[in-house]
Symmetry: C2
Subunit: 214 residues, 2 copies
Amino acid sequence: MSRWASALPDREEVLEAKRKAIIREAAKVFNRRGSHGATLDDVAERLGVSKAALYRYVQSKQDLLYACHEEAMEIARESVDRGEREGRTGLEKIQIGMSTYLREMIGAMGVPVLILEENSLTGDQARHIMGLRDEFEKRMRRLVEEGIGDGSILPLNPKLAMFMLLGAVHWVTKWYSPDGAWSADEVADALIEMATRGLAAQPGDRLMATIHNS
Amino acid sequence: MSRWASALPDREEVLEAKRKAIIREAAKVFNRRGSHGATLDDVAERLGVSKAALYRYVQSKQDLLYACHEEAMEIARESVDRGEREGRTGLEKIQIGMSTYLREMIGAMGVPVLILEENSLTGDQARHIMGLRDEFEKRMRRLVEEGIGDGSILPLNPKLAMFMLLGAVHWVTKWYSPDGAWSADEVADALIEMATRGLAAQPGDRLMATIHNS
DNA sequence: CACTTTTGTGACTTAAAAGTCACTTATGTC
DNA sequence: GACATAAGTGACTTTTAAGTCACAAAAGTG
């Protein structure tokens, strides 16, 4: 047994933490430059190490890209979980789920969603990620249907509504900067309020989020 | 003077038509694979010619990418023009402008919008395209302000509203397929109706577009 | 047809980034 | 301190796609 018992992070943990850091940084670069435009030299430089060092933590660029996608889908899944747990109507579940998702993506430690370029993943990896994405989208669609059923959402096409919301949300990663005037929380609240109002059966006659009133 | 007077397309026209075809095809590939992931061999193959042939019509891949962006911004500009001309309130102008824009992008001959990857354009070209984009966004924002002023739109943050709408619209290029069940027109109408309802001061109590009622 | 101009090609060179490896530096253990 | 193991590096090879070029095929013109 090493000194300090298990009070100090052991090797495994440090290793895993470094791998996570690589994934986070890579996700940002992939997202800004596209998966083919991003270079591992670039990721390495942002982390202050050499490219060769990265290869101790990831097998290949493909592997890294795959890990980023997995992370993003994990965030998506947890966000819907939370929406389903905490919301009372279909609409509320969507609002909570989507704003959680958005906050996680653009927040300090977030892995921004990755634009799915055709071709960036292949074979089993592509199939797995697409499977997760389809599942996520199916759950979102069901929440829309639930909302229509319970009267919180207007009769409309669930698939189209889901795509509209996802577009509004994913696009944020293209323009949002943490250095700007708005916090991730403010953006998430205000954007989701506005976007979901389009579906609401009883839309309020004013918007409550802080960004709208400043 | 050649025979048939000017009834036959002359060389210049044919040349220009071929260049347009290259731009359209390239735009699709850039959009699906990202600007770095797209290869000119691929574009050439889709057009049934060799890569070397492309270089008779474009100077470089950069030049081609730039032309695609210019084309997309031209479409954007014309769409706002039409909205401003035909709409009566700020909200109506936005609805007309945005649905025109979306139809043009995903329609048969459309040049899908290009995700602006950082780094894909550089120097003067990047500055020019960003200038056009900023101008487009500024006009959209002004229409939101106009709508707030004339009472057709709720008091809200114009910049955020614009980003929400643009996200919903641009995202369509990621999932829409002309081979699917929905026509470009149907999608444009239904999506814009839903998305702009979120901003409307007097949102209707049901959605009219065909997709929602089928 | 004979000649010129335009359009297009396959085989090449070049550039950039992925991926590897023999080696150095750091860390932890007795 | 001495040894063992892990972490990290610079210089290399390999791969892929951009871009070029000498030549071939096609089209226009007298």
